[in-house]
């Protein structure tokens, strides 16, 4: 796995946590759809890349999964955020906000012509 994917995975993990926090238990498809919608479809992900992230979060204990029945009466695996996942989310939201703000400000600087 290259470095770019790693960064992407970290970001994706945050998005997954936020989605589950905001919307309650969801299956993988629902999470993917939600991330696409939240970004106004600007962000288009390969849905497959979600699963390693889900597995990692589950191994860390940030989310839990169980089999259930989806809205169209199919068997599906539902994920929900745990207490420790909420803590993790709270801890990571602030630095992320600061980082994006700084980067945003930086990019907003007008070039000085010489």
């Amino acid at each position: 796995m290259n470095a770019k994917a790693d960064v992407w995975q970290g970001t994706l993990a945050l998005m997954v946590l936020k989605t589950l926090y905001a919307m309650g238990p969801q299956h993988g498809y629902g999470i993917a759809r939600r991330i696409e919608q939240a970004s106004d479809n600007l962000l288009s992900i390969n849905h497959g890349t979600l699963y390693p992230v889900l597995l990692k979060l589950e191994q860390e204990g940030a989310i839990k999964s169980e089999w259930g029945v989806s809205e169209n009466n199919r068997r599906a695996k539902f994920y929900r955020i745990t207490k420790s996942g909420q803590k993790q989310l709270a801890l990571e939201v602030n630095p992320w906000g600061q980082a994006t703000e700084i980067v945003g400000r930086f990019l907003a600087l007008k070039g000085v012509k010489t």
Partner: protein, 877 residues
């Protein structure tokens, strides 16, 4: 931190439950794609197109699965599990190889574990005393006579007073104690000790108290301390025993304490060091004993050094004291002492033998390892294509290396587990073999230290025989292996060279082991054939000890022996019967000086008291004169062995009729000179003096009867005679004299049997190795042999060719092995008897045996090769 830990543990679990999770994931991913497809259909796409879109949007299912799989388990652990599974599969496919490997390893590791538990228990574990390095047993030495003798109590008491480096001295005397309380009368080893013995060793009684100085006097000495084991076995560990009275030697003794079961003083006299003293009584030194400045070397002595003092200092101080005694007694002799550390006293005699066994069994395991490496190498040769394909498909060398090593470790661990079970059984067998005179044998068990050793050995073994094949396999050039196709002549040759080297090693080690075994066995046969000085056939013996008030009186003892001997000689089938204070081959005894009246030269000899019938019963040859008989009552007479007579009258051809002073300081007339009798089988006979028993009636000894037929037939009658003479007399086991001789050889028999077994298994394993390598080389050279046959080579010529090639490493190894044995066998000189370590007959014998067996192992594959059909061999390509 916690997150990382939790993740790690989850991954570990993931490794173990990987299968179920993987199925789960597949289902989940399928569900996801189905939902995506349905959404596209809702948007109006035709199903076919919807499914395609969904797949595009999802990305690669396989790569998702793969990254999940990598993340789920621990890749390294997974690889190990995979290697293990692979190893199991490989072994299952080849059960013959697996069985041979595991069994040979079990025997090798089991044997090593068992011998190590002996070495550990006897040699390595420290004694349980307080500061055992400061405790020494002392023996006195007459340098001119070249002998160590037990201690004279007067000398020992002087060391205690005069040597500043010696903190404490304890003089003691072993005996047999007849215990009548608490069950059937028994006679068990006891020892009379001074009050400070327990303090000297730093041992506290577990109940009651130690002796008081006051109890070393006549009248107050009727107290006894029991060993914990006796207290438990005979008195049911009853704590109220302390203070009670029990009957020992027909006298009441008050029990005052119980001493821990492991405790034994260092008793440096008896040749049987595994005698365990169970009854401790205070030592009372009578006025007589305190006055005898020389002779009377009938005691053992232990000393404790003052802290900071060295053994050399103490010895120097003791030797200063020693020098005085011969002068005081007016004897022209030098007297010194020697110190033996407590540990040395216990382990010293057993050390050489045990290390030799350890080395031998270690060599067997090494041979097993070499052989397995060899077998694995041939398996690898046949797997080199498989390995090449693996490498070509991207398996790393490290992975290939690990795979082979895992297989060998799997074998080692299975063999090791079996081996530990085997060792547990062996150790039980060893400990049960009570005839073995190995010190501390009862302390030996498979403890955690021993188990640790065998685990270490198991892993080491796996590495030793696995590394070489693993290295070779992972180093192979896949291109070459694949290109070479089915006839891997060049690669095979290179492998063959290595395997021939291993064969040389195996043969060399086996040769050395066989030579050692041969030397030990020829020592044993020589010992069995040695001129003992008596005839052991058809003799029955029983040990006697008379104790208690009844026998305190000499005339009572004399009457007992007289009546008993009369009764015994009346038993039908008894040809001759007699009594002696100490049987031959049971060790030296009663070492006291005899001398010519009016001279200063004292000659220490082995003194024995016997009944007139003894010499006839034992068939000891008279050289000159006659044995004593009943008509000698009232006269001071004696019989000397040839050596003893030579000591007194060096130049005289027939000294019979001359007079000398016996060990009892009374004048004796020499009435006969008798043949030498061995006091210990493996030493030359000491000079001996025999006196009629009525001159100084002993309190114990051995009865011997010679019977016309089977000696055991008279055992019942012998017991009955003893019972009717004294129903209270404890009767010990009745043995034949052959058993007595046998028992004195038990340890040597044990050693040589073990080494012979080791050597035989080494030889067997080496044969398998030779056979395997020659078969392999024949298989490699099938084409060559086919061509030779096609060109008209004779069958005999081909046979010779194969055998010659096969025997080359054998001969090389044999030469090396003989060299090693010549070099090392000097180390076991102490275990040999009548054989030089370089005994040419043994070496020649081993050479012939190895050449013949090695030749046979070559011949079988050679015959197969010579029977090859030329056409078939060439077509095989």
């Amino acid at each position: 931190m916690i997150r990382t830990l939790r993740r790690a543990s989850n991954r570990l679990l993931g490794s173990l439950w990987g299968h179920r999770r993987a199925d789960d994931l597949t289902e989940e991913l399928e569900a996801h794609i189905r939902l995506l497809t349905e959404e596209h259909i809702r948007r109006g796409l035709p199903p076919e197109e919807a499914r395609r879109q969904a797949r595009v949007q999802f990305g690669s299912v396989e790569s998702t699965k793969e990254s999940c799989r990598d993340q789920r388990g621990l890749p390294a652990l997974d690889a190990i599990v995979q290697d293990l599974r692979y190893g199991f599969r490989g072994l299952r496919k080849n059960p013959g190889f697996a069985a041979v490997a595991i069994l040979s390893l079990a025997v090798g590791i089991g044997g090593n574990t068992a011998i190590f538990s002996l070495v550990n228990g006897v040699l390595l574990q420290p004694l349980a005393y307080k500061d055992p390095h400061r405790v020494f047993a002392v023996r006195e030495v007459y340098p001119r006579l070249g002998g160590q003798v037990p201690v004279n109590p007067v000398h020992a008491l002087a060391w205690a007073k005069e040597c500043p480096s010696v903190e404490q001295v304890a003089v003691m005397r072993g005996n047999r104690a007849d215990l009548t309380s608490g069950g059937e009368p028994v006679s068990i080893p006891g020892v009379d000790v001074p009050h400070n013995l327990f303090a000297l060793f730093g041992v506290e009684p577990i109940l009651g108290r130690a002796f008081l100085a006051d109890e070393e006097r006549e009248g107050t000495d009727r107290v006894v301390i029991l060993s914990e084991s006796l207290w438990r076995s005979r008195f049911n560990a009853d704590p109220s025993m302390v203070g009670k009275s029990i009957v020992i030697d027909r006298q009441n003794h008050q029990v005052i304490g119980i001493i821990p079961g492991w405790f034994q003083p260092s008793y440096g006299i008896s040749s049987a060091t595994n005698v365990r003293f169970e009854i401790f009584r205070p030592l009372v030194l009578g006025q007589q004993e305190r006055l005898r400045l020389t002779g009377n070397h009938n005691y053992a002595a232990d000393i404790r050094l003052r802290s900071g003092a060295t053994a050399a200092q103490a010895l120097a101080e003791i030797n200063v004291v020693q020098a005085r005694f011969p002068r005081l007694a007016g004897i022209d002799s030098e007297l010194k002492a020697s110190l033996i550390s407590a540990h040395e006293l216990v382990a010293g005699r057993a050390r050489l033998g045990l290390w030799m066994l350890a080395a031998a069994v270690g060599a067997v395991l090494l041979i097993v390892c070499i052989n397995l490496a060899n077998l694995l190498l041939s398996r690898i040769a046949s797997r080199s294509r498989e390995a090449a394909i693996r490498t070509a498909l991207g398996a790393s060398r490290g992975r290939q290396f690990r795979m082979v090593l895992t297989e060998s470790l799997l074998l080692a661990v299975t063999g090791g587990a079996l081996g530990i079970l085997f060792a547990a059984w062996l150790v039980q067998l060893l400990v049960a073999a009570t005839t073995l005179n190995i010190p501390r044998l009862d302390e030996i068990r498979l403890d955690s230290g021993v188990l640790g050793f065998s685990c270490f050995l198991t892993v080491l073994t796996g590495l030793v025989f696995g590394l070489l094949p693993a290295w070779r396999l992972s180093r192979g050039d896949p291109q070459e292996a694949l290109r070479a196709g089915s006839h891997t002549v060049t690669g095979g040759r290179r492998g063959l060279r290595l395997r021939e080297g291993l064969i040389s090693l195996e043969v060399g080690l086996s040769a050395a082991l066989l030579i050692f075994a041969g030397l030990l066995i020829s020592s044993l046969t020589r010992l069995l054939q040695v001129e003992k000085g008596f005839d052991a056939g058809n003799i029955l013996t029983v040990d006697l000890s008379l104790s208690g008030d009844l026998y305190a009186d000499e005339t009572n003892r004399e009457g007992f022996f007289e009546r008993l001997l009369a009764r015994v000689s009346a038993i039908p089938g008894v040809l001759a019967s007699g009594f002696v204070t100490q049987l031959p081959v049971r060790g030296q005894t009663w070492n006291d000086p005899i001398y010519l009246e009016g001279t200063d030269r004292r000659h220490t000899v082995d003194n024995r008291y016997a009944s007139p019938g003894y010499f006839r019963a034992m068939n000891i040859a008279m050289r000159q004169g006659r044995a004593f008989d009943e008509s000698d009552r009232g006269r001071g007479v004696a019989v000397l062995s040839e050596k003893a007579a030579k000591l007194l009258w060096p130049g005289e051809a027939n000294p019979v009729g001359r007079r000398f002073v016996g060990e009892d300081d009374k004048p004796k007339t020499l009435i006969g000179v008798i043949a030498e009798v061995r006091a210990v089988l493996h030493h030359d006979p000491p000079p001996m003096a025999y006196y009629p028993y009525w001159q100084r009636v002993p309190g114990g000894g051995a009865l011997v009867i010679r019977t016309a037929g089977n000696a055991y037939a008279a055992a019942g009658a012998l017991r009955a005679a003893l019972r009717s003479e004294d129903p209270q007399l404890p009767i010990r086991d009745v043995h034949t004299m052959e058993e007595v001789v046998d028992r004195s050889l038990a340890e040597r028999k044990f050693q040589s049997t073990l080494v012979m077994t080791f050597a035989a298994s080494a030889l067997l394993v080496a044969c398998l190795g030779i056979y395997g390598v020659v078969s392999y080389s024949v298989a490699c050279r099938r084409n060559e042999i086919g061509i030779r046959m096609a060109l008209g080579a004779q069958r005999a010529h081909l046979l010779g060719l194969v055998v010659r090639h096969g025997m080359a490493p054998v001969v090389l190894g044999l030469a090396a092995g003989v060299g090693v044995a010549l070099f090392l066998s000097r180390a076991i000189r102490g275990l040999l008897f009548g054989v030089q370590p370089t005994d040419p007959i043994t070496i020649a014998g081993v050479t012939v045996v190895l050449l013949v067996i090695g030749g046979l192992a070559c011949l079988i594959p050679a015959r197969r090769a010579a029977g090859t059909d030329a056409i078939a061999a060439l077509r095989f390509e």
